[in-house]
């Protein structure tokens, strides 16, 4: 992708073209608190995976894994965890 600003000749004439660009903003910058998983307590039930609004929790071999690049720190995962394995910790 060239670094010059696109001109009217470059941009597509309509939004409805065949290329769809999704923007992955670094929403991890939004948070004040971050969820920390205690893998010993985690029973890998998958509740946090289901309810994360961003969809950035995956179930690893040891327990839930969170993608902190995108995590907005909402706290739903910590609230819903049935065994309270996730704690919301203030960011440094």
């Amino acid at each position: 992708m060239s670094s010059r600003t696109p001109t009217w000749r470059d941009i597509p004439i309509s939004n409805l073209g065949s290329t769809k660009m999704t923007v992955l903003n670094k929403t991890g910058d939004w948070r004040t608190f971050k969820p920390v998983v205690d893998v010993d307590t985690c029973i890998q039930c998958g509740t946090c995976v289901t309810f994360c609004p961003e969809g950035i929790i995956t179930m690893g071999d040891m327990g839930a894994e969170i993608d902190y690049y995108f995590c907005k720190g909402c706290g739903v995962c910590a609230n819903e965890c049935p065994v309270k394995a996730i704690e919301m910790v203030k960011e440094e």
Partner: protein
């Protein structure tokens, strides 16, 4: 399957599968036939006087199986009509619809969206005066209102014109240099309900003239969608550029309308001037009338009468309002002393006269030698335009050409009472 659609038998209009080359059709039925011959695929349409006949004729064509490629939709309002038209066009179908006055104003939001999304929808506007003051009868404000939205606008003189222009409009809008939606307009009742013998082109020849619709730049088909991701926040501020692209498309449309006009004339034998304007008896004219729509027909007769009397007057039919044929008009007024624009529309508080006069004044402004430009309000809110009115206009323009002075800029031709 023979059609049951002979309900207009009392007017002697034959619909249905009768593929005879000439039929007695009024503007509404001609518009419906143009959609049928152009093989419009999705037809969302809502009835409003004076367009109702077009709406119902199309439903008969589709429901009786005479348009097996098409889907007829009965939305609950005109706003829904244009929303559905946008969706269908984006989804890859050729779309036709029609409306008038209040309906057009109701769908205004989606009219802009259609043009901005570059969807080649064709709409037939059966001109009717917008309330208030409104009427079931015609004036041209409903279609002229769209002048800033980015739709192509061609005006039709009679039912034959409506049929031909309707078919041509699909070809113009779907040209890859254009991709703008298009309006072809004619006055309700005067053209919409006035039946004349209309020659219908052969359907197979129309298929050859107008290939199936496939938008070069738009597709919603999931298997064609390419997804890319970026971490650079997209500002999306390409509004000015998009509008400029529409301007470029309008300039291209001037060429395309002329090309389509020529091509159509070669294939089907009917030509409409150069596509943008038609000049009638303009050779060494000192005075010119510019008309749009059905008034042109009356004006032709008046020009003939005056020419007989030795008066140097000619007529320009403005077929295309958008794109406005600036270059063609500048060329047509060379050597002319006075021009009168016959405006069947209103714009209270305007800079001087009706919408047509305003656009023409702007088009001619930068000429170092330009004629006097008079504006004439006639036929407003559906008042019938009689030959006497057009004669009055022509005489005023001739007088201005003779004396080199215009009495005034604008005339309210049929006003009851004195102008201030």
């Amino acid at each position: 399957m023979p059609s049951q659609s002979n309900r207009d038998g009392k007017r002697g209009i034959i619909g249905g599968n009768n593929m005879s080359k000439r039929m007695l059709l009024d503007g509404n039925h001609a518009a419906a036939w143009s959609a049928r011959l152009a093989k419009a695929q999705v037809i969302p349409i809502y009835p409003i006087t004076p367009q109702t006949e077009c709406c119902t004729q199309l439903s008969e064509f589709v429901e009786h199986g005479e348009m097996p490629w098409a889907s007829y939709v009965t939305p609950e309002s005109e706003h829904a009509v244009m929303g559905i038209a946008c969706g269908a066009s984006a989804g890859g179908a050729r779309v036709f619809t029609s409306s008038a006055a209040q309906g057009v104003v109701f769908m205004e939001e989606n009219i802009w969206i259609a043009a901005g999304n570059r969807l080649p929808i064709v709409m037939c506007i059966v001109n009717r005066a917008i309330a208030n003051p409104g009427s079931l009868r015609p004036d041209c404000n409903d279609s002229l209102l769209q002048r800033d939205a980015g739709w192509i606008q061609l005006y039709c003189e009679d039912a034959q014109d409506a049929l031909d222009t309707g078919i041509q409009m699909f070809k113009i809008c779907e040209d890859e240099r254009v991709y703008l939606p298009g309006i072809f307009a004619f006055e309700g009742y005067v053209v919409g309900h006035c039946a004349i013998p209309v020659e219908l082109p052969d359907p197979e020849e129309v298929d050859d003239f107008l290939p199936p619709y496939k938008h070069k730049f738009i597709s919603l088909d999931p298997e064609l969608r390419k997804y890319t991701t970026t971490t650079t926040p997209r500002r999306g501020e390409f509004g000015t550029e998009r509008v400029y692209q529409m301007q470029v498309a309008m300039e291209n449309a001037k060429k395309v309308i002329k090309e389509v006009n020529e091509d159509y004339a070669k294939r089907f034998g009917r030509k409409y001037g150069n596509g943008l304007i038609e000049k009638y008896r303009c050779e060494d004219a000192d005075a010119l009338l510019i008309t749009m729509g059905s008034i042109t027909g009356t004006a032709r007769k008046i020009v003939d009468d005056l020419r007989e009397e030795g008066e140097p007057i000619g007529l320009v039919k403005l077929r295309s309002f958008r794109p406005f044929p600036t270059e063609d008009l500048r060329e047509a007024v060379k050597g002319v002393k006075a021009v009168g624009f016959v405006d069947r529309n209103r714009s209270p508080g305007s800079s001087g006269g009706g919408i047509g006069r305003i656009e023409t004044a702007n088009a001619l402004y930068s000429l170092t030698e330009k004629p006097l430009l008079l504006g004439f309000f006639v036929g407003l809110v559906g008042r019938d335009v009689m030959p006497g009115d057009v004669r009055f206009i022509a005489e005023k323009v001739l007088k201005a050409a003779e004396t080199g002075k215009a009495e005034k800029d604008t005339y309210w031709v049929q006003l009851k009472g004195e102008e201030i």
